[in-house]
């Protein structure tokens, strides 16, 4: 049972409640343990309990449990991404609202596993160095009603550090800014996020591009990219 440890590690002594207002969707079975798709939607919680400060995503039984932190700030509390799974596990979104309360949404993903301990394709063939931190982005309208969807792909090997001889090497921080250079959302990624992360975010209807993406990996390589609108 890793849950008590996860509670104290990520939420301290603060009380938490499990709620269906935080939707966490994963596949029943992780067909590709190196790319397990997760979709988080906490809009219902934001409507009920007020603005969301951050969303902490964890997989109890992963060797590295902490997958990412997401601060939705001025965007919607919606995020889709992929991560590496070592074995079947609960996947949870621990959501802290601005009033200091924690709300937990969760799902269970079955897996044959092994996703954390084998090198990704670009590490295996060495091609990662030619594309490091290149950014691709595209905006889509109205997938969710009134939404502005940003899909983002950043080329990075995202090494977990659990493959022999390959130290952990991953994007740590990402921040999106609007046309006035004001932050829209922030992400803190950890080792289990899949190679060449493909992120899907919902920016709402108020904010205006052109968007500016800033970030860095744990080796200090910077990302600074103006995105097409």
């Amino acid at each position: 049972m890793q849950w008590p440890t996860i509670q104290s590690r990520f939420m301290g002594k603060a009380p938490s409640t499990v709620t269906s207002d935080v939707i966490v969707k994963g596949p029943e079975f992780a067909e590709d343990a190196m790319n397990v798709p997760i979709l988080i939607d906490a809009r219902a919680l934001a409507r009920r309990a007020g603005p969301i400060e951050r969303i902490v995503v964890v997989a109890d039984r992963n060797p590295i449990q902490h997958i990412l932190d997401f601060e939705p700030m001025r965007s919607w509390p919606v995020l889709a991404f992929r991560f590496r799974m070592e074995q079947s596990s609960p996947v949870r979104a621990l959501v802290r609202t601005q009033d200091g309360r924690w709300h937990v949404g969760q799902t269970w993903v079955n897996a044959a596993g092994g996703g954390c301990t084998v090198p990704g394709a670009s590490r295996a063939d060495g091609s990662w160095s030619r594309t490091l931190n290149q950014v691709q982005a595209r905006v889509f309208k109205n997938l969710l009603e009134g939404g502005t969807r940003l899909r983002l792909r950043i080329m990075h090997p995202m090494d977990t550090g659990l493959v022999g001889g390959i130290p952990a090497f991953y994007i740590e921080q990402l921040e999106l800014r609007d046309s006035l250079e004001q932050p829209v959302w922030r992400l803190h990624l950890h080792e289990p996020v899949s190679e060449n992360p493909l992120l899907t975010l919902e920016l709402g209807e108020q904010l205006q591009g052109p968007w500016h993406l800033l970030g860095r990996d744990n080796n200090g390589n910077r990302i600074d990219e103006r995105l097409p609108t």
């Binding site: 969707k25 590709d32 889709a80 992929r82 044959a112 982005a137 899909r151 792909r153």
Partner: protein, 318 residues
């Protein structure tokens, strides 16, 4: 009394989870292989129309053989050493003639995991298939042991040793031809019997079952299917033996496979151009015309997981 009860609970703990769902489960260790004649001197041994599962011994493949007075050719060797042994015994009950050759039509595990039982016979596959078996055999074995348990006992990945070069040959009056097509995998071998007009279509054709796509290249596969449609239309092929699903006449399975592939391609392209994430595509409804097909949800999830990322990546460069 207490003793008997605890014994019952114990044995149920072992077995109930395995077999409770299906009444017709096979007892572990006996595949109950029964060759069925489908044309002169031509037999198939049919697998379950389902997904890999312990209740069916992971036997979901159709293997086949042509047994003539001049000798026997065997097509595919099944999911395990045990299958290969029982297949060999079943064939020997039908024909006393020597087995001249065994062929694995592609690199997927249930096409060749019975090869151990044919160690003293020449076992053939296309060159690319041999390379794929060598590269992926161990991972297949891990997966098959996980899915099929005791049925796999003693099985080791044993790739085909002889390289098959596509050609025509005659066996006991049958005009036969090995042909290389592609798309289900990089090298899809089919055997055409011009005498009986039976086509052993391998993984290119699925009937009443959703195609498996871990090595698929959709456009090449659809091109191969158009070739098969033409053979049927020209009268070259009458009976089709797919690797998965019932043996049938005419274009039934070819058309079903084409329908699925073109629908899936369309679904993935449309979804990517709309900006859907993989998580969302996995949850889209599947049209009702596919609802009776075996392994529908499992294969849809598998195919989307492996294929959709390429479609997603492509829309970034538009």
């Amino acid at each position: 009394m207490m003793h008997a009860l605890s014994k019952m609970l114990w044995s149920c703990g072992l077995w109930c989870g395995v077999g409770a769902a299906l009444a017709a489960d096979l007892p572990v260790g006996d595949y109950q292989l029964r060759p069925r004649s489908i044309a002169p001197q031509t037999w198939v041994i049919e697998g379950a129309v389902a997904d890999f599962h312990r209740s069916n011994g992971c036997n979901i493949i159709n293997t086949a053989f042509i047994a003539t007075d001049e000798g026997v050719w065997v097509i595919n060797t099944g999911p395990s050493q045990l299958y290969g042994q029982q297949q060999r015994a079943a064939i020997e009950r039908v024909s006393p003639r020597a087995v001249l050759g065994v062929a694995n039509l592609n690199l997927h595990p249930d096409y060749f995991f019975g090869n151990q039982a044919w160690g003293d016979r020449p076992v053939y596959a296309l060159g690319g298939t041999q390379a794929g078996m060598l590269a992926e055999g161990k991972a297949y074995a891990d997966n098959m042991y996980r899915l099929c348990g005791d049925w796999m006992k003693g099985t080791e990945s044993t790739p085909a040793r002889q390289t098959l070069v596509p050609s025509r040959f005659v066996l006991g009056g049958h005009q036969l031809e090995w042909i290389r097509l592609q798309g289900h995998t990089a090298d899809d071998l089919v055997l055409l019997d011009r005498t009986t007009r039976v086509l052993f279509a391998g993984g290119l054709v699925f009937a009443d079952r959703v195609p498996t796509l871990p090595h698929a290249r959709l456009t090449e596969w659809m091109a191969s299917l158009r070739t098969l449609q033409q053979w049927v239309d020209e009268g070259l092929v009458q009976t089709v033996v797919p690797s998965h699903g019932p043996v049938h006449q005419g274009r039934y399975g070819v058309d079903q496979t084409m329908d699925w592939l073109s629908w899936l391609h369309e679904r993935l392209s449309t979804s990517a151009s709309q900006g859907l994430d993989l998580s969302e595509v996995l949850r889209l409804p599947i049209p009702s015309r596919f609802s009776g097909w075996a392994a529908l949800n499992a294969e849809y999830a598998r195919s989307v997981t492996y294929l959709y990322p390429r479609y997603e990546t492509a829309q970034f460069s538009r």
